[in-house]
Symmetry: C2
Subunit: 332 residues, 2 copies
């Protein structure tokens, strides 16, 4: 069988992370863990899109400050978001003086960025980089669904786009390393319901997890956590059920960033959180710090993304999805 | 000074290329060089967006066939386009069974894909990959400017988005190698005119070229060609003028894919061609085959991209731009 899992012999470390969130995220279960929040979802700007750029800027500035790097010392910056033409990143990061690689992986962009950055480091091409991603509830709703002013009823399977940006500095020094990566494949099982993204994305996560376990001969119990990005309640149930039918039981150690960031019932977010920023801020504020402390030691992180656009759905398309995997290990 | 130019010790080869274009491109000066064209710009589909996906599919299929690879033998697929959420690539390539990395670099995506693919190969992370990008005049006009039916007057500085997709297979065997790469930085000189993208993008190309020559101590005359992606007439003039003021004279060996693909006057395209597909099909059909034959031997290729969205401009933003560089050498 052809080898797809990338084993990094030169293993990059996570030098620092930084998370910036909105008020609803701050009010959620992880609220105290985030580095910065703003009670005004416009972050002092005059549009939601500019607010999203501002979050990215603050996230990268914060991560740089923590890391001791300045922008010109980095070898690359990898970033992306959900907005048309990725303007959250393009405008938010344009003042940093560093080579910029724009990514589009929808909500999988955090894992895609960590994957590409780690591989470029692993291959000795770069010695450091930053990965930044974001999403914003208001900019995403008006772009992908309905104007907020319309007050549309949300379905039970709908998720709530996280307002947040996460940044990661990758380099030589740190207490967490990225040891393996697996590039996701596009999986399209014919789901057309834009209010049930979890169902569309779960098959992509299943594809990646099955390929990983088949090739590495690891089992779920070898990991403290198997973390998906934003499958939410529906998608997480589908993931666990279908993997179980294939003999892979991840029920004990699976968690989903979309289920962690909000109190699903108390905060009325239906199936949970979603968005590029969801996994980014949960990884940056909770998972990676716990790996740094040695509270957990070995984690599979799968960012999950739905690759449709409103236009592709209007034209009758279903929702292709993807899930990129990186393995994070504590160096303690 | 910190080193930014990436010298690849393990140099990837271009195994094969394939170009698919529309009728206007086929009627242009390079018409006979393209691998495939369709007299119907819908490529047998019922929307322009689906046509763009179809072009990507045909481009990758063609490149794979020429290379002798099948999709499952590739280690990665890097792709992107100009459409919101990159649906040209996401839908066009979803049936290929290979790990997929989505990129957004606007019209620089071809060079961004070649750069990342080459670096992943150069670092020993992958042994092969495909790079695919596209643009479509009709899907781009309605998304970025006006509905075609409106029949808007075009300004003299406006460019014509190329209808085309180009695919490149990177691997061990081939007559052209990628030897160096330089990641572009975002440059924003305050241009806000969406009908003068050349002026917005030229400063990014200038930034990359200056950094390249400063660091490598090469001079323009060391190269047979310095090729930009889609600066068009306006942008090319700005590029040459401003570089000359800095003592870098590229007037003798600069060409621009946007000025090659159409007969600017005869085909009424004003300042020239543009789009992700523009540089992709010109590189795939003309430049790389000439490197393979040894007609030319050493080329700097700079894909140029404008990173705005219609919304960012409506909100008063200017146009950030980027230019990624790869150096291609004949192995003859």
């Amino acid at each position: 069988m052809k080898k797809s899992v990338i084993e990094l012999t030169r293993k990059p470390k996570i030098v620092s992370t930084y998370s910036v969130v909105g008020k609803k995220e701050y009010d959620g279960p992880l609220g105290n863990l985030f580095d910065e929040y703003c009670s005004d979802d416009k972050f002092g700007k005059d549009s939601w899109e500019k607010a999203e750029s501002e979050m990215q800027k603050r996230a990268l500035s914060g991560a740089l400050k923590k890391s001791g790097f300045i922008d010109t010392e980095l070898d690359a910056l990898l970033a992306g978001d959900l907005l048309n033409q990725c303007i959250g990143s393009n405008y938010g990061l344009s003042n940093f003086d560093v080579g910029y690689l724009g990514l589009y992986g929808a909500c999988s962009t955090c894992s895609e960025g960590l994957l590409i950055g780690s591989c470029l480091y692993g291959g000795g091409i770069i010695n450091s980089c930053a990965v930044v991603t974001s999403s914003h509830y208001c900019s995403a709703e008006r772009q992908f669904r309905f104007p907020l002013e319309y007050g549309g009823q949300r379905t039970p399977t709908a998720q709530w786009t996280t307002t947040g940006a996460g940044a990661f500095i990758i380099g030589n020094e740190g207490k967490v390393e990225i040891s393996e990566a697996l590039i996701g494949k596009v999986v399209d099982k014919g789901i057309k319901d834009i209010t049930n993204m979890g169902a569309a994305m779960a098959p992509a996560a299943i594809n990646t997890i099955k390929r990983y376990f088949l090739e590495t001969r690891h089992a779920p119990e070898d990991f403290d956590l198997i973390i998906t990005g934003d499958l939410g309640f529906e998608g997480s149930e589908i993931l666990k059920d279908l993997l179980l039918k294939d003999g892979i039981d991840i029920r004990k150690n699976h968690i989903d960033c979309g289920l962690m960031i909000f109190d699903r019932m108390g905060q009325d977010v239906h199936a949970g959180g979603s968005g590029c920023g969801c996994s980014a801020v949960v990884m940056a504020s909770d998972i990676i710090p716990n790996l740094e402390k040695g509270v957990i030691n070995d984690v599979l992180f799968l960012g999950t993304g739905a690759l449709m656009s409103p236009m592709s759905l209007f034209q009758g398309g279903s929702i292709p999805a993807i899930a990129h995997l990186v393995r994070l290990k504590s160096c303690n």
